[in-house]
């Protein structure tokens, strides 16, 4: 594994937390973003390039929650490179150098999964051909400007589900690259991800050993359904509280539709949707399966068995229990030694650093959460 001699010690004011250096660190959610649409022009077919120039951008629909703090970014990171008061992760993106200096080296990250920004939500665009072209361009840009520059980076390639044949074509194009370990999809989409509409994509993912990554994005936007089952909430904070609802809808759908019976090697990573919903989901779905199994007899095993074998939950934003005792009980109840993977969400304002996010964990559990669960999922 890559070790980084001479990595900088953490010297932030008042800082006392230090990551465990000896146990491994795999970060399952690091965002790389373009600075402006022009970054993608070299990778786009001319027809879309010209239309984008005319329109002034990609126009991936948003859902109208205008007050995402700091445009999602950590302004302390921006301060090193630019005027923090004008920093916008979405508008200004970030750079490989920043990621290297302010994250990978600083925290001794062994591997970081690049999950993208903006473009992974292309599935909600009305035009499936443009959506596919945008994903392809973003993937090529990521390969050239990030992946090629650091062995520690692995990639969740952007895929649009709008036309599964185009999604499969993109997976066939780059999915065999050993640096590509996942695809990335938004939580907001037209249907839950167990639906058979998506299965050709899942088949391609299984064939290439790619994890299906799901990350909040585009809920309530474009072709996607509303952010909650009861419609559109009013405030941004409500959309954040709605993330577990979407995570559960997708997880339940994948299990109930028999996706893991059809594709027994498939793995799913659900990032940035909290974690402890997994406890209630497993308990409730197991109970209901015992009563209602005959309606979905292709679900051969307890739903929690599929969950524990196939679904991994990103740790960020790690919920903060009232005390450590409760916290550790919840980790135990969700089988965190199998299901939980560390995610930082770097470089966003609500990120979770590797040192202070968890109380001291037993060493076995620390290894599972911070490294081994992710290594097994990605085949690292």
């Amino acid at each position: 594994m890559v070790t980084v001699p001479g990595a900088r010690p953490i010297t932030a004011p008042g800082w006392t937390g230090q990551p465990r250096l000896d146990l491994g660190l795999v970060d399952c959610d690091v965002h790389q973003g373009i600075k402006q649409p022009e970054d993608l022009y070299p990778y786009l077919p001319r027809v879309y390039r010209e239309q984008m120039i005319e329109q002034g951008g990609m126009r991936i629909p948003g859902s109208g929650y205008f007050n995402v703090p700091q445009n999602a970014g950590r302004t302390d990171l921006a301060a090193a490179n630019c005027d923090a008061t004008k920093h916008s992760t979405h508008k200004m993106g970030n750079s490989y150098e920043q990621l290297r200096d302010e994250h990978l080296d600083l925290w001794h990250v062994d591997y970081a999964l690049l999950t993208g920004a903006g473009v992974y939500g292309a599935s909600v665009l009305p035009d499936p051909d443009f959506a596919a072209a945008l994903c392809r361009a973003f993937n090529d840009w990521t390969m050239e400007h990030w992946i090629a520059r650091d062995e520690r980076l692995i990639m969740a390639m952007a895929v649009s589900t709008s036309d599964p044949r185009l999604a499969v074509r993109e997976i066939e194009r780059i999915g065999a690259d050993p640096r590509v370990r996942a695809i990335m999809l938004p939580t907001g989409n037209r249907m839950p991800y167990g639906n058979r509409f998506y299965h050709p994509i899942w088949e391609a993912c299984e064939r290439h050993g790619l994890v299906i990554g799901i990350h909040p994005g585009n809920e309530g936007a474009g072709l996607a359904g509303p952010p909650t089952g009861v419609g559109y909430p009013t405030y941004y904070i409500e959309t954040r509280m709605a993330r577990p609802q979407m995570a559960m809808a997708h997880a339940v759908s994948l299990i109930a539709e028999g996706v893991f019976e059809k594709f027994p090697r498939l793995k799913v990573l659900i990032d940035e949707c909290d974690q402890f919903w997994a406890v209630g989901l497993m308990w409730h779905m197991d109970a209901d399966w015992k009563s209602l199994r005959d309606q979905t007899p292709w679900v051969k095993r307890l739903p929690s068995e599929y969950f524990r074998e196939h679904i991994r939950v990103g740790s960020q934003p790690m919920l903060e229990a009232a005390n450590n005792e409760q916290f550790l009980c919840m980790l135990d109840a969700m089988h965190a030694d199998e299901t939980l993977v560390y995610s930082s969400d770097w470089p966003h304002w609500d990120w979770d650093d590797p040192a202070t996010t968890f109380p001291k964990l037993p060493e076995h559990l620390h290894r599972r959460v911070f490294a081994d669960n992710a290594r097994e999922m990605f085949g690292l």
Binding site: G258, R293, W298
Partner: protein, 157 residues
């Protein structure tokens, strides 16, 4: 089935065989909080289960008797529709619908769970259950008339 005179096991006559034809069931000896016993005729063989679901103590033997749908693959594999297997051999508790194998008492959705079963014999055209007294009403006082279905220790000829 001859009974050991020292045994507590009680011989309970559920009825004439023709009272419980294939696919039918009869509940016997429910009494003041005792659950009673369900006697089922599954394709000509008789089985007796305690009428008490080990899950939540529901009246298991009053539930729907059916088979069990099985699927070789999810519907999106287009491998055919689910088939009903073991038709008539499964009873589902009316509380929460857990499935039990009538012929063994085994719960089919939780391998740790089993409902109590009792030996059944056909004796002189009667369906006879050999039951644990704990599951039956208390013994009538000495000298009182013994109900026809609760005679104790009457060994079969």
């Amino acid at each position: 089935m001859p009974l050991d005179p020292s045994s507590d096991i009680r011989r309970v006559v559920a009825g004439r065989v023709e009272e419980i034809p294939p696919g039918e069931r009869k509940l016997i000896v429910p009494f003041r909080g005792r659950a009673g016993i369900g006697v089922f005729n599954v394709n000509g063989d008789y089985h007796a289960l305690r009428n008490l679901c080990p899950h939540k103590l529901g009246p298991l033997c009053t539930g729907r008797v059916s088979g069990r749908p099985e699927a070789v693959a999810p519907p999106s594999s287009y491998a055919g529709e689910p088939e009903i297997e073991r038709d008539g051999e499964i009873v589902r508790c009316p509380w929460h619908l857990w499935e039990f194998d009538i012929t063994t008492g085994q719960c089919l959705v939780d391998p740790k769970m089993r409902v109590k079963t009792y030996p059944v014999a056909i004796e002189e055209g009667e369906v006879v259950v050999y039951a644990d007294p704990a599951d039956l009403p208390p013994q009538p006082p000495s000298g009182a008339a013994v109900p026809a279905t609760m005679a104790r220790g009457r060994s079969a000829e």
